[in-house]
Amino acid sequence: MEKYLYITLFAPLVGSLIAAFFAAKPKELYTGILTSALVGISFLSSIVLLNYVDADTILHVKMMDWISVGNLSIPFGFVVDQVSIIMMVTVTFVSTIVHIYSIGYMEHDKSFNRFFSYLSAFVFSMLILVMSDNFIGLFIGWEGVGLCSWMLIGFWYHKQSASWAANEAFIMNRIADLGMLMGLFLIYWEIGSFQYDIVFANILNLNINTVTWIGSFLFIGAMGKSAQFPFHTWLADAMEGPTPVSALIHAATMVTAGVYLIIRASDIYFLIPDVGYVIASLGAFVAVFAASMALVNRDLKRIIAYSTLSQLGYMFVAAGLGAYWIALFHLMTHAFFKSLLFLGAGNVMHAMNDELDIKKMGGLYQSMRATAILMTIASIALAGIYPFAGFFSKDKILEVAFNHEAYLLWFALFIGAGMTAFYSFRLVMMVFFGEQVHKRLGFHPHEARPFVIYALTPLALLSIVAGFLEYSFHAFVIDLLRDYKFTLDHSVGWMLIVATTAIALSGIAFAVYKYKRGGFGAGVESLGIYKLLVNQYYIPQFYNNAILKPFAAISTFFWKQIDLKIVDATVDLIGKMFYNAGGKTRQIQSGNLSSMLRWMVAGIAVMLVLAIILRPMV
């Protein structure tokens, strides 16, 4: 079985390296096919592993010793257990489809090969993150994912905005990673190991305060990676990257890493329910906060991006309240329909010559039937309508909130569910139905290539049916994760389902009703609340004014006053001293062997004299 593990892990790396050889070359179709095939192989072997893993057998291998210094011993070890195999299957499955999709999507890009190299590297990093059996391996994957996201978001680096967004994502993540690192150091300091099993076995013996600190620090890392408030701005800006990248980041690889960390470290968070409650509150806040921004945004991809934020908030609520398997389940289902949404959006974008403003679309159903159907399916799944996948996972989360007697959280999520339904269908309506604005603007949309559509169908299928896997999923995962006990009455559960479905349906109905008629009038745009939402609660401006500008001012001050006048001057002085000394002594180096020999002899004479003066007194 080990070989399947290595195949799963290293097939994307091989693909990435091979593609990297041709990175500077013009497009070679086979790099795309090869990397896709290798990621596909990775997916297949992870399916094999999925069959292998059960309650008694998990795969734990130690590839090699990596760092061995003093007491610190960090092996390169990998573990395939119930949690990581779910992640692996999800990641490789979505990645495979994204790879295949990218062959079509990046068809005309001149950096085709480079793109696939990055993409596979991204998958590889994520697999490292997921499969590692210790925190250091996880951190390597964590940073690898960050690096790859930087490369991919800034893939069109010649665009100012793209490279800015890439840097923003990278820097935001670094800031959060500091928290993560502190958590790791604390773990090592207290426990002396990074291995999951050792850490979790010993965490019980620790002071509860320490555990709280560890949990908080790790959560800061997770916040950065999963773009939770206040680190959320990078996620929407990351839409500058190619659309498949967005799909990959949102669905499978990057942002889910934070949730994965919380789930992986569930043994820690289990001990500190207070921190968990904070996580859940933050999650609920983000769920509503992001959904509200999605309500008014006009940018196709940003709407989906905010919806991801909102759904991540749902996951954190579940994870924070201790329903780890539900969080993981939502992560998985969300991966399917969110990637479907993004890839569909990519099709639309292509059709509209990279136009993203949904106000300029409308009525695309005529020309892009398949895409429209796929995206509608995904939207229904996102809104959480029975029997689509989102229904099962999202309702469970609401139930958890209610079960926890966190009614405020439940209410927030409940409102969030309505908003989700509304903005999803606002998007669908404005893009695919209604007035054909794009014709007036002179666009000639066309459907994507058939193989792209075929590649998306598995995702659509899973978006529909994945929910029914709930029971087997539950049974599979709780071998490792703690189960969550529902204490609710059965009837209350039904009531909740009805209520949630009702609000979701009404959100959909409202959206359909409103946008069939051409949407809201111009008056709504002058409302204060609208401005607030469109400007993302002025948070980017706030960051700009409260952090960036003072920081720039301070930096300028340090540069002009301290660096130039004190540090540089000191360094220059030292340099000048050497320079002058060199100028003086340069004549020694006249190139004349004879004079050099004289200097040598002079040196010998000096040493001899010293030897006499400093001789040991006998």
């Binding site: 180096q589 006249s590 190139g591 004349n592 062997l593 004879s594 020999l597 004289r598 002899v601 010998i604």
Partner: protein, 100 residues
Amino acid sequence: MIGLAHYLVLSGILFSIGLFGVMKRKNLLMLFFSTEILLNAVNIGFVAVGRFYGDMSGQIFAFFIIAVAASEVAVGLGLIVLWYKRTGSIDLDSLQMMKG
């Protein structure tokens, strides 16, 4: 009797002569001669110390020094001849290309 110090003093004097030659001579060939003096002076020192301490290492070292000297001649002389063919001079001052 002649002791170790005698030989060492002799060695030191010869070494100084060699150093003097190395400093004074500008002719490359002479420079090589002076180098040979230096090497031989050291050899005497080595062998004398080895002899008076009953240690063979001194002689072995002298052997290797002789080997080095032989290689030095083979390469050095080749270079001098080459230089002479090029420039028509074996004066040290003609060899002044590496000006600092």
